[in-house]
Structures are given as C-alpha cells and as structure tokens.
C-alpha cells in the first residue's frame, strides 16, 4: 500500500513538472512580447532573451500616442458594446420562443437559423459589403455593429434556446395562469432564471466582436474608425522594423482581453463547455 501511494506521489510530481514546463513554453511568446515592449530596438536584437536593462514605459506610451490607440480602443468599445446589446436584446426573446412557445413552423425556422451557424462569414462578406454600401453604412461603426450582431445571431439564438429549454415549462405555465402575459412572464420570470446562459452569451459575444478582424477589415476604411485589431495591423505595417514600438502596440492590444479573461475566468470555461456540449 505504501509503495502504491509512493508511486502515485511520484506520478503526481512528474505530471506536475511536465505540465509546468509545457506551460512555460506555451506562454513564452506572451512573455517575450511583454519583455520586448520594455526594451530598445538594439536590446531586442542583441539580447533577445534577457530582462530589459531599464524597465521603461517609453514604447507603450509612444505606441499609444503615435498609433492613436486611444481612438481604436474607443471604437472597439463602441462596436463591442453595441453588438452585445443588440445580440442580447434580439437573441434572448428568439431563443425563448424556440424553446418555450408552441407555434407553427417552429422547427423549420430553427433549422434555418442553424444553417446560418454553419455558414462561414467569408462566404457572404462580399454581398454584405455591397449591401452596406447601398445603405450608406460602409465605413461607419453602425454598419460594423449591425453586421457583427447579425453574424453572431445564429449561435446566440442556439445558445439561448438551449438555456431556456432547461427552464421547466411549468414555471411559465403557472405564471400565465396567474394572468401574466407572455412578455411579462418572459421578462420577470424566465429571463432571471436564464442568467447563467445570458452571462455566457455576453462573454462569447464580447470575445467574438472585440477580437474580430475580417469584418472591420472589409467594412472600415478611414483610420479614425479602426478597431484595435485593425489599428494594430496597420500600425505594424507603418512601423516596419521599429520592433520596440510594434511590441508596445501588441502589448497594449492584448491587455483588455486578458483583463476580461482574468475577471470572468470561471464563467468563460463553464460557458465554453456548456455551450459546445449541447
């Protein structure tokens, strides 16, 4: 028995060491970028793996100012929040209807929505561009918000439908018997019960829209409308070989997603596994 526990202890320690080493390797690109963002260009070339001689914030400050990242942050925030609001307002009632209400064509409509989930954005981005152009919404934040919300919709409806399907139907029925209309029941009885699903939906939508590259690339032209992703991309092009500044911009761009992740880490993982397991 003691040899067995000893054996298990050794196994535990070796797994632990293996995972730690692997984690260091996996995370090293991020560390490399953070360290490089404190270095001068010469330091990046001559001593790529050592700590910076002076922990100077010059690269971050310069990148922030030269690269106009303040503007990009604001644009990303507007687009992301706008998209999240629309997705939540639209997908929750729709998911609720598919899960709880009986009406003709329920299944057919739902399959139509599922088809949208399979459709890659790349396949329809060309018509979307010309459609927005005819609506006068190319190169506007509104246009990106609407398209982002539209493309996020199929998965969001799917997620909310699964969430509302897990809420017992009896609750809704007893609320309607008490005389509450369907909308009232939805707002005051059902939606509060779907909170975990809603949180997962908001996190998914935040990550998808905040990190998106294709839609801003196609739909935005003028620099003062750029998102962080697009801004970083153009900043990298302009700075060419000024690696120190590029790393500064890269680190600036990664901070918000990492902060959001650290705050919502638990909901992230739970949302991921529940969202995909259904």
């Amino acid at each position: 028995m003691t040899t067995l526990t000893k054996k298990k202890g050794i196994a535990q320690i070796s797994i632990w060491i293996a995972l730690s080493l692997l984690l260091i390797i996996i995370i090293s690109p991020i560390f490399y970028a953070v360290l490089a963002s404190f270095k001068t260009n010469i330091e990046i070339f001559t001593s790529p793996f050592s700590l910076p001689k002076n922990w100077s914030f010059d690269n971050l400050i310069n990148a922030w100012q030269i690269g106009n990242f303040q503007k990009y942050f604001l644009n990303s925030a507007v687009i992301t929040v706008g998209g999240m609001v629309i997705v939540a307002l639209v997908a929750c009632p729709a998911g609720y209807a598919f899960a709880q209400l009986t009406f003709k064509g329920n299944n057919l409509l739902f399959y139509l929505i599922l088809l949208g989930m399979a459709l890659p954005a790349q396949a329809i981005i060309i018509p979307i561009f010309y459609q927005l152009r005819s609506m006068g919404l190319v190169d506007t934040l509104t246009g990106v918000i609407l398209v982002s919300a539209g493309l996020a919709l199929p998965f969001s409806i799917f997620l909310m439908r699964n969430t509302f399907r897990d809420v017992p139907k009896e609750l809704r029925e007893s609320a309607t018997v008490d005389g509450a209309g369907e909308w009232r029941t939805f707002w005051s009885v059902m939606l509060p019960l779907a909170k975990p699903g809603l949180v997962a939906l908001l996190i998914f939508t935040f990550m998808n829209i905040w990190n998106d590259f294709l839609l801003p690339l196609v739909l935005l032209m003028s620099k003062d409308k750029f998102t962080i992703s697009l801004g970083l991309y153009s900043f990298q092009g302009e700075m060419a070989t000024n690696y120190a500044l590029i790393f500064g911009g890269t680190v600036i761009s990664m901070i918000p997603s990492i902060i959001v992740y650290l705050i919502f880490q638990r909901s992230f993982v739970e949302g991921m596994s529940s969202g995909a397991n259904k």
Binding site: I26, V90, L115, Q122, I128, L151, L153, M254, M272, S273
Partner: protein, 326 residues
C-alpha cells in the same frame, strides 16, 4: 398540451381540460376560440422572433442569395450593369491554377491542424485532469493564448518567425544550430506549417476545455477495474479514455476541420497568402479578387464554393453524429 399546434379537433379529445365532448354546438364554439387563441399564439411568438428574423434576413439570408446571384453574373462592383454569364465564373474557377492551389492549401491546413491539435490537446487535457493540486491554475494558464485577438497573435508570431530578429532563429544560433535558421514565413516548404503552428497556439484552448469537460463524464470505476487488471497508463488511455470520449472527439475533429477551412485572419495578417501564393487559401484568394482586383462576381463564385464545402461538411457531420450517438 403538446398537440396544441396541430390542426383540427384531435387536441379536443386529448386535451385533459376538455370535458364536454360530442355536443356539436359547444364543439363549434370551442374550435372557434381555439383558432383565435392559435392565431394569438402565433402572433405572440412572432413578436418574440421578429427582430431576430429581420436581422437574420438582412445580414445572412439575403447576402447568401446575393452571393449566388453575383456569381452568375459578370460584375466589377461599380458598374451599373450586370451581365448574366451563367456558370461561366465556376468554369473559370475549375481552370484556375491558383484556385486549385488554394484549395490544396486548405486541405493541407486541415490535415496539419488535425495532427497538431487533436491528440496533443487530448493528452494535455488528460494530464491536467490527473493533477491533484493546481488543476484550475493549469487550465486557466493553458487557455490564455486563446483569449488574445488574432491580430495580436498574427503580429506576435510574425515577429517570432522574423528571420533577422526573431527569437526562433536567435535561439537556434545561440545553441549552435544556426544552420537551421530560416526565413520561416518566406520559404515554400515552411510557410504553411509555420502558420498552422501559430494557429494551433491560438485555438487549441477551446478543444482542451471540451476534452476536459468530456473527461469529467467518464465513469471513474472503469479505471479502477482496469487498475485491478494491472493495465498501465498507456493501455488505459487507448482502451478506456479514447473510446469513452468518442462524442467529444467527433465534435473536436469536426470543429478543427471547419475552422481550418474558414481560416483567414492569421494568414492575412502574417503572409497575405504569399510568398508567390505559397500560403494562399480560398478565403485570402477570394478576398483579394473581390476587394483589390474588383473581380466581384468571380470572387463570389469562389466564396460560394467555400460556403458549399463548409455547409455540406457540417450537415453531413451532424447527420453522422446524430446517428452514431442515438
């Protein structure tokens, strides 16, 4: 209750609340009110669905049909007339060497992603699930790359692969392997593998989470029984873990394939399909044709082909999954 949405009188007899049966006058009355309530129900449901359907039609359904429509015409995106050319664009694609190359690269991308992502991620998940202390820490740490935007990943990895200052080449020369240093994104044989490695780094986290969730559902007792039979860890992995995770495995494999077919952002950020089309995939080729060469209808045909491949695969896979899981 469940039969409410069906037509006619059937639900009259099955509905528990209907107590009076057979009285023709009352029957008619009931049918009338029921119809009215059915209309009301549909209208209520519609009020819940309308905004979603509107957005869906404007930004997905209509563009979907439009993509097909564009592909049957000859249009450069700005002229006011469109000439109908039938399947001409598709025939052109069938003869286009670069398009073939792009499709081939998509395929290579799929294969490399499967190799790099599925088994290694599964082994990682198994190791994390075995650890007693710090499980949450490892899970959170290994997931970290997945929260970065693709723009960050693309810029970061193009610097990592940089031939002059990139840490890979620096590391190789510092340990005396300088002759292995390469222009990783500039050489035909290395560019796609290099890109797939960056993409794996950015995406494996989700699959790890899925495997971890799947591993939690395996009955612990099966392992204990295997322990008693004296099975080693490798045998247990192949004979218990892998078969028990079949559903998760199916899901992950299909997601990896779909993802590999859709890949655009990282390639565009790091190589734009270059050098000399060596990393061109369908989506980058289509993007260039549409937005820098004004071949809108030709590009639409390409994107329709991509859409059909992805949708067909998704539907076929889901069909297979439903059958095998039932």
């Amino acid at each position: 209750m469940a039969l409410f949405h069906q037509e006619g009188r059937i639900d009259m007899y099955t509905n528990e609340s209907s107590t009076i049966i057979g009285n023709p006058v009352l029957d008619k009355e009931r049918i009338k009110t029921k119809r009215r309530s059915k209309v009301k129900k549909t209208l209520t449901a519609l009020s819940f669905l309308a905004p979603a359907l509107l957005l869906y039609i404007i930004f997905m359904l209509y563009p979907m049909l439009d993509a097909v429509r564009y592909s049957l015409f000859d249009w450069n995106g700005s002229s006011t007339t469109m000439n109908f050319v039938g399947l001409e664009n598709y025939l052109q694609l069938a003869k286009d060497d670069i398009f073939h190359k792009a499709l081939g690269h998509n395929l290579l991308w799929v294969v490399l992603s499967l190799v790099l992502m599925v088994l290694p991620t599964l082994i990682l998940a198994v190791l994390i699930s075995k650890v007693k202390y710090g499980k949450t820490f490892f899970r959170a740490g290994f997931y970290l790359p997945s929260v970065l935007s693709l723009a960050v990943v693309g810029v970061l990895w193009s610097k990592i692969y940089d031939p002059a200052m990139g840490p890979i080449n620096k590391l190789l020369s510092s340990i005396g392997l300088g002759f292995l240093a390469k222009n990783w994104l500039g050489e035909p044989a290395f560019v796609i593998p290099a890109l797939v490695i960056a993409s794996t780094w950015a995406f494996y986290g989700l699959y790890m989470i899925l495997f971890l969730a799947g591993l939690q559902n395996i009955d612990y007792q099966v392992y204990e029984a295997a322990d008693l039979d004296g099975a080693g860890p490798i045998r247990k992995f192949w004979h218990i873990t892998v078969p028990s995770l079949r559903n998760t495995m199916n899901l992950v494999i299909s997601m990896v394939i779909i993802h590999a077919l859709k890949g655009f952002a990282l390639i565009w950020l790091m190589t734009q399909g270059g050098p000399f089309y060596m990393s061109e995939v369908v989506s980058t080729y289509v993007y260039k044709a549409a937005f820098s060469m004004n071949q809108v209808s030709y590009a639409s045909a390409g994107s329709v082909v991509l859409g059909i491949i992805v949708i067909t695969f998704t539907i076929a896979f889901n069909y297979y999954r439903e059958r095998s899981e039932a």
